[in-house]
Structure formats: C-alpha cells, structure tokens
C-alpha cells in the first residue's frame, strides 16, 4: 500500500504545477502551429516537443544534477551542497541561487555532491550543454545554411547588399525599444537582454540562438520561439508594410535580367567575405566563418560529398538536438513572465521596422541613382528569413504586374540579410558580450 502511495506521489498528476501545465499547453500550441499552420516545422516541432518533455513533473529532464538534487531537497544532501557552495543556510532556494552564481570550482564541488547522492543531469540538459552551451549547434547549422546558399543573385547585383544592411535597422531599433521599456520601468531588461532580443529582428534562427546563448541564456527559449514564429509569419507581417510604403507604379518596376556568374566568382566570394571578417570584426568570425566554409564547400566543386553531408545528414542531426535543447529552456519560471510578452511585442516591431527600412532604402537608392533600377519590393527581403521573404517580394510583384518575376532579384538582399545580421551579431557580442 505504501508503494501505491509512493507511485501516486511520484506521478505527474500529483506533482503538476500550474506553470508546468501551462507550458505543456504552450508546447502543444507550438506543435499545432508547426504541423497545421506550417510555422517553420523543422525547428518548431522539436522545440515544441522538447518544451513538453522539459515540463513533465518530477522527470527533471531539463535540470542539471544539482538542480535535480535541490528539487528533492533531502536534508543531508542540502547540507553537503551548502558546504560545497560555502553557504550557512541549507534552504533549497538559497542553495540553488548560490549554485547559479558559483565560481567554477564551487560549481564542480556542488556537482560532485549531487553525483555522490545519486542525482544525474536530465537528458535535455545534456543535449543543451553539448549542442548550445558549447556554441556548436548554431554554428553547424550556419555551415549547412552556407552550403545551401547560392550567392549568384547577390554577385550579379552587389549593391543589393545595401538593402540587407538597411533591414538590420530593425535589430538596433528594437534594442533601443527594449532599453526604453526598461527605462520606463515596464520591463527589466539589461543591455545584454536588449541586444539578444533585438537580434530577433535579424530573422535568422541560428544567429538568434547563438547570440541569445551568449548574452541572455535565460531568455533563449522565448527568443528562439519568437524568432521562428515571426519568420513563419513573414507572409502576413510584411505585405501591408510593403504596400503602404510603395506606389502601384513602383511595384510594377521590372528589373533587368541578372548576368551569369562564373564558377570562379562564386568560389572567391566566401573567401573574400572571410578575409573581410578577419580584418574588421573578429567577433563575427565563428558565425560568418562557418557560413563561408559551408558555402566554399558547396561552390568549390571538389568536396561534393562533404557539402552534401553538411546540407543533409549533419544539419538534420544538429537540428534535432538544437530543437530539443531550445525546448529545454521553455520552463514556466522563465517563459511565463511579462518579459516574454515584451519579447514577443518587440520581436514583431523589429520585423516591421526591418521590412520598412529595406523598402525605404531601395527607394532611396533609386532616387540617388536617378533611375528605376530597383523594384522597392525586394528591399523587404533584406531582413533575411530565407527564402520566405524573397517569395513575398515575388508575390507582391506578380500582383502588380503578372510578368514581373522578382524572386531571383530578391534573393540578393535576402542572403545579404543573413550576412548583415551576422555582422550585427558580431558587433553586439563585441560591445556587450
């Protein structure tokens, strides 16, 4: 009978907290959006599922060994833990707090106590450590994205890089928005938090995760969910802004056929980009370095089997672990917070501003050059969100003029946006990292 009670008291129903229940529902909602509404399913299916698993009561899948030990809070374990952390109190909350702020040596000592008491890291915690805390997973995804990227349209029309630059204004405007909210006492974001939130406006998943894991790991879950959700919402967020800022005539502008790009130019471009990064912004080197490496593997033509693996088996494996790891950060105490609301609002503002700046920049460039070379609809593609944003440009172009295929032209600013937000990420890591 004791055993029956024990089973019951260890069950999920008995231990379910309101926050956990809510987060499980959030996880189910993410799965619904991913599966039924096609919101970036490759990421949101693993993230949603990981979020549900992370919130299973008593399973502790997203907890470290020490966190699991503190959760069960056996007196003798708390005593040993307090001693390892140099605390007098054995109150679980204080122990946990001390653990999170501990020096590396005290951290090790606490881990030793937890292991001696038979507690282990949860599965998702291990995945997070290996995939995200090490920085490896976002970088490998970026390598795979590089191996999938064709810089041809950008090389055919390099000035579209300016569109990719302009659209990054969304990032920095959002940073300013976040610090303003803090100033007004509405939210409580540090400058690191603000920078990590801003990067949502970069519309680039791995960059957002990489920056958030370095600057604001506690906001990682919300930031990743916002970034991928808004990328999926690009076809809804962008068109009204694009229509509002352009005239019918502008939307009808046809662009000249792109010139053919030689193999050698495509090989040289990632090398050139890497050298520029090396000379100007070493802090962007991991992100852009891996991106260029993937692209060079694609274009050089002599390592097709590596390029193929980077685009398929490797990126798929990493995506599974990355998604589950992000999901492990969807804990109630961090996600069910007014900050998440702030992040969601700031995120959509960032997307909007980025879109608007891209379009305005295109119009400005036309005026500067005194011509009509650029259809301003391709400016919005500068936020990245490859290839969704370019498709949106194309769709609006076709609406205005059924012969006006903008897809290839929009791919230029689209990939420029990837470079632009990686550069922005480097600057932020440099200044507030």
């Amino acid at each position: 009978m004791d055993k029956l009670l024990e089973l019951w008291q260890a069950s999920g129903i008995y231990n379910m907290q309101f926050g956990q229940l809510t987060m499980i529902i959030v996880g189910l909602l993410l799965l619904f959006l991913a599966i039924r509404k096609n919101f970036e399913p490759l990421l949101l299916v693993p993230i949603g599922f990981g979020g549900i698993m992370a919130n299973i009561p008593e399973a502790g899948l997203a907890f470290s060994a020490v966190e699991n030990a503190v959760h069960f809070a056996q007196p003798e374990v708390m005593q040993a833990m307090a001693k390892a952390l140099g605390l007098v109190s054995t109150d679980p909350h204080e122990v946990l707090h001390a653990y999170h702020g501990a020096s590396a040596a005290a951290h090790d000592a606490a881990v030793n106590v937890a292991q001696d008491s038979g507690y282990n890291n949860g599965m998702l915690y291990n995945f997070y450590t290996v995939a995200i805390a090490s920085g490896a997973a976002p970088l490998l995804i970026f390598m795979g994205v590089g191996a999938m990227t064709d810089f041809g349209p950008l090389l055919a029309n390099p000035k579209t890089l300016f569109l990719g630059a302009a659209a990054q204004f969304g990032i920095f405007a959002t940073v300013l928005g976040a610090v303003t909210l803090s100033m007004l006492g509405i939210m409580d974001f540090s400058i690191q938090d603000a920078a990590a939130i801003g990067i949502i406006g970069g519309a680039d998943g791995p960059t957002a995760i990489y920056v958030a894991s370095m600057l604001a790991p506690q906001l990682l879950g919300a930031i990743a969910v916002a970034a991928y959700s808004y990328m999926a919402l690009v076809p809804m967020i962008q068109p009204p802004i694009m229509r509002a800022l352009t005239t019918e005539a502008e939307r009808k502008i046809s662009m000249v056929q792109l010139r053919h790009i030689s193999k050698n130019e495509k090989i040289m471009f990632p090398i050139l980009l890497l050298i520029l990064v090396a000379l100007l912004l070493p802090d962007a080197a991991p992100l852009l370095g891996m991106f260029c490496f993937g692209n060079l593997m694609r274009e050089c033509g002599v390592v097709d089997r590596l390029s193929d693996t980077a685009q398929n088996a490797l990126i798929n494996i990493v995506t599974i672990f990355l998604g589950l790891s992000v999901g492990s950060k969807l804990s109630a105490d961090k996600f069910l917070d007014v900050q998440t609301l702030g992040i969601l609002i700031l995120g959509v503002v960032a997307f909007g501003i980025g879109t608007a700046c891209g379009v305005m920049m295109a119009k400005f460039m036309n005026r500067m050059e005194g011509g009509n070379a650029i259809n301003p609809l391709i400016g919005s593609a500068g936020v990245s969100a490859v290839p969704m944003a370019a498709r949106v440009s194309n769709k609006l172009g076709l609406e205005a003029n059924p012969q006006n295929f903008l897809l290839m032209h929009a791919m230029g600013p689209n990939v420029a946006g990837v470079i632009g937000s990686a550069v922005a990420a480097g600057v932020m890591i440099k200044f507030v990292g």
Binding site: Q168, V175, V427
Partner: protein
Amino acid sequence: MQNLLSEGLTLMVFGMGFVFVFLTLLVFTTRGMSALVTKYAPDAAPAAAPKPAAKPAVAPAGNNDELIAVMTAAVHKFRS
C-alpha cells in the same frame, strides 16, 4: 538608468554604422573581385579540368537528383 539608454543608443549608432561600413566594403571588394576574376580567371578551361579528376566516390546528391529528373521525364514520355 540614463546609462542604459545611452548604452542602447551607442549600440545602435555603432552597430548600424558598422553594418553599413562592412557591407559597403563588401560591395566594393566584391565588384573588384568579380572584375578581376572575369578578366584573369574566366571559367572556361580551368573549371572544366579539375572536375573530372575529382573522384566522385559517392554520387553527389545533386547529380542524383538530376539523373532522377531526367529519368522521370524519360519514363513519362515512354508511358505516353
């Protein structure tokens, strides 16, 4: 607090400035590179030579897809 705002402003000014400087430089160096490559190293011969020498230990996905596409087309024709 004032401090936080000024940090945010600085980040915006320098961040945005740097992004523009960097991408502007990229525009110019890319144009230069394209010009140089087109002049001194056009594709033609050099690109053709190394390709066959590379040992395609595994049929790369791309080729495979192409092949399959070609064959599907052929099969469709064949059926009709």
